[in-house]
Symmetry: C2
Subunit: 454 residues, 2 copies
């Protein structure tokens, strides 16, 4: 059956079907550190909506699984493609089809890189707000498929808030146009939002109508604040949120992550236990906001550095931005992604400390403290996470849920969190979501085995 | 069968089942001017989640249709309850269960009135942004069911942006908890967004977790600008949007609506053909924004009045707020609700003028010009809209779709726009949405005949 699929694909799409060992191997993995069991059947480099439709028609006819891929930068294994599966890459569909400054929208193909889109938009004073840390390498389609977040979400929203509509190809090859081009629109069910974060399990996004913002005018102020321990830093970040001032960025690094980055960048070793907040304000009252935040942080024991110089500000932010590189130097990392209500951030850090002691692991953690999204990192030797790491992760997920949080703030479920999906959704909702999946994909060819454990 | 349902309901819920002729009659209609064919079977005044579950279990067992109702202020007939149907009122479930200033969220029951919630929140410096014109009389649950909009949406978002999660009761009585309490959360499909705007066809919302904002600090500036004709006013509003300044409110009244309000309020008659923009700015740079907008409007021929006095500002806004009352004085009105991309606002007003001439009708129109949402009003004698009005409305809807717009920006489909739903969605999406409805409600008891024409 799979040989048939390959023949049909090659007949229909010619050299856009790539069966080279390198391509089939690369499609096995994303950036989660997790790989499928073997090389993909083939990689289809779709160049058009028609290519995507042709691929899906063949896949449906031959019952061949299809895994949609963008740049392969996911962190949950959602795009990992295994033996007998077609990797449908939309990376080459990367055109900007339309930019409308007057309507604050852009229509793009899914394969465009987030940063490249934003570079083009900036020339017109515009901006697509979602800013995952991967923005320089991840695609807009991937951002939509995962429901990506980033550093700016508390102030500027998540992907769901920034997508007005999209064109999708269903499993059987039919093209649907979802959503609208207007600020308001409530005709029928909101299938656009249903697609956001659906991780390639419902349909293939081939075009998106994005809601834009204008670039923020005014100055930008950046500050760091050092605290004696992570608990104090977490309390301080909660105090900033509770004050009513809305920073654009508020990031927290615990001692293990701060130390790792300082070593990577050859900066002076921070004192033992010290944690850091990095905060940025923007807009017309950025300086006044920064001054008020500085006072709050100092009152809570922080050692504060503030600058309104953009270059100096970028230098301060670089410490935070170097986190993933620093982790890569420590060993293999499993990047986690729980989110809790902002007031529960100190409690979640206490849970992480408890789990470190209970399982004998170190969990360097950074948090988007402004929105309550934590990235605890499990670091280990070798390619596969040992059982103790998964036991600790299990405890971590359950702690987040207990605190009113969620399993994943911005990375998605993929293969890595399928096990816990039912714990958060409950059995009735899990079953209902599974039925929605079946409704869109009755043959079960769209990213099977992802999100829902079979 | 319906007699059985009534007996079962009364046995289970006692005097919360209201079979008085007045209650059964009132449940026939919302504020659309459209009524069902006769009195409801009964009105259930649910006091708890358990009451809603009991009602739905009985409805499922006896295959009795259920129409969920809040305050009955809808404008699309979505809550109209007919013979043999249970009107399930959640109006008495109106408690605020939790307010968390630190997490910027509130948990409420669906029956609370929007303005009452906001009065309570204001005491803590907080605010739920959705502000339908009906805010003083409509419920939060109704706002969610319709996906309500309002005057502030371009700057502060729509209902979908302001709901984090909800508890819903399925048709068979099971309770599901959807969404999350966190800023970010992408675990599974976004069923919360699927519920927003689903008009009682998928489940019954019994609790909602709302995303709050802090009350906006700084001054408020209000201005009106008179233009010689509606085309000039529409061009001016598009110019304000294109300038990049974001007013909180930007409303347009055409000559017919302005004249009607002036008569109602006993103000001097405006010159023939004159249309008006009413604009408000808020936040730390409200005055500077207002001054810049004033210059734009004057350059385009507007006669501008600006004030930073809140009382005087409310007086200027009162003209806009009196629009519906003025329409009620003219006759029976069919309030329409198309939305177009903001740049298409002048073209849509040109279409309305064309339609007025073509069908010999007058269509007083106001628009949320900041977001492209128009409310053209068809005024006629008697209770039912004559065929010419529906022919004109049909032309209006098709014009909006042709301009890249949508059938309904904020009122919903209900019974009044079922006919055109397929025109916007296309047959494949229409069928898919119908199947989603069947998945949630296999027995077809939830608001049958609404949204989807049978």
């Amino acid at each position: 059956m799979t040989a048939d699929a390959l023949t049909l694909l090659t007949d229909a799409l010619g050299d856009r079907v790539d069966t080279s060992p390198a391509a089939r191997h690369d499609a096995r993995a994303d950036k989660s550190g997790h790989s499928s069991d073997g090389p993909a059947l083939a990689v289809v480099h779709a160049a058009s909506v028609a290519d995507v439709q042709a691929t899906l028609r063949i896949a449906t006819a031959t019952r061949t699984p299809v895994v949609t891929r963008g740049a392969g930068t996911g962190l949950a294994g959602a795009a990992n493609t295994g033996p007998g599966e077609i990797a449908l890459s939309v990376r080459r569909m990367d055109r900007i089809l339309e930019v409308r400054p007057d309507d604050l929208l852009a229509v793009v193909e899914p394969g465009i890189i987030n940063a490249e889109l934003n570079d083009a938009l900036a020339a017109e004073g515009l901006w697509w707000a979602p800013d995952p840390a991967s923005r320089a390498i991840s695609t807009v389609g991937g951002n939509i498929a995962t429901g990506a977040g980033g550093l700016l979400c508390a102030k500027y929203g998540v992907v769901r808030d920034a997508v007005l509509g999209m064109d999708v190809v269903l499993a059987d090859g039919r093209l649907l146009r979802l959503g609208h081009r207007t600020v308001k629109g409530v005709t029928g069910y909101d299938l656009t939002s249903l697609m956001v974060g659906s991780e390639g399990t419902l349909a293939v996004v081939v075009q998106a109508t994005l809601r834009l913002r204008r670039l923020v005018a005014g100055e930008v102020c950046t500050m760091t604040a050092l605290f004696d321990d992570v608990a104090s830093a977490a309390v301080a970040s909660a105090a900033v949120t509770a004050s009513g001032i809305q920073p654009s960025i508020m990031e927290l690094m615990d001692a293990a992550s701060l130390t790792a980055v300082h070593r990577l960048l050859a900066l002076p070793e921070p004192p033992a236990g010290v944690a850091q907040l990095t905060i940025q304000t923007d807009g017309p009252v950025a300086a006044a906001d920064a001054a008020r935040i500085g006072t709050i942080l100092r009152d809570l024991g922080g050692t504060v550095t503030i600058t309104d110089d953009r270059v100096e500000g970028e230098r301060l932010l670089e410490v935070r931005r170097s986190f993933h590189a620093a982790m890569d130097h420590l060993g293999t990392t499993l990047i986690e992604d729980v989110s809790v209500p902002r007031s529960a951030l100190p409690a979640m850090f206490a849970e992480i400390e408890r789990i470190e002691h209970a399982y004998g692991v170190v969990i360097p953690t950074v948090a988007h403290a402004g929105d309550g999204n934590l990235h605890p990192n499990f670091v280990f030797e070798g390619a596969e996470a040992p059982p103790a790491v998964w036991d600790a992760a299990d405890d971590l997920f359950r702690s987040a849920l207990r605190l009113g949080g969620t399993l994943t703030g911005e990375h998605g479920v993929g293969v890595l969190k399928r096990r816990w999906l039912g714990d958060e959704l409950g059995p009735d909702q899990w079953a209902l979501q599974r039925e929605i999946k079946r409704l869109f994909d009755p043959a079960g060819i769209l990213n099977p085995g992802k999100v829902f454990a079979d």
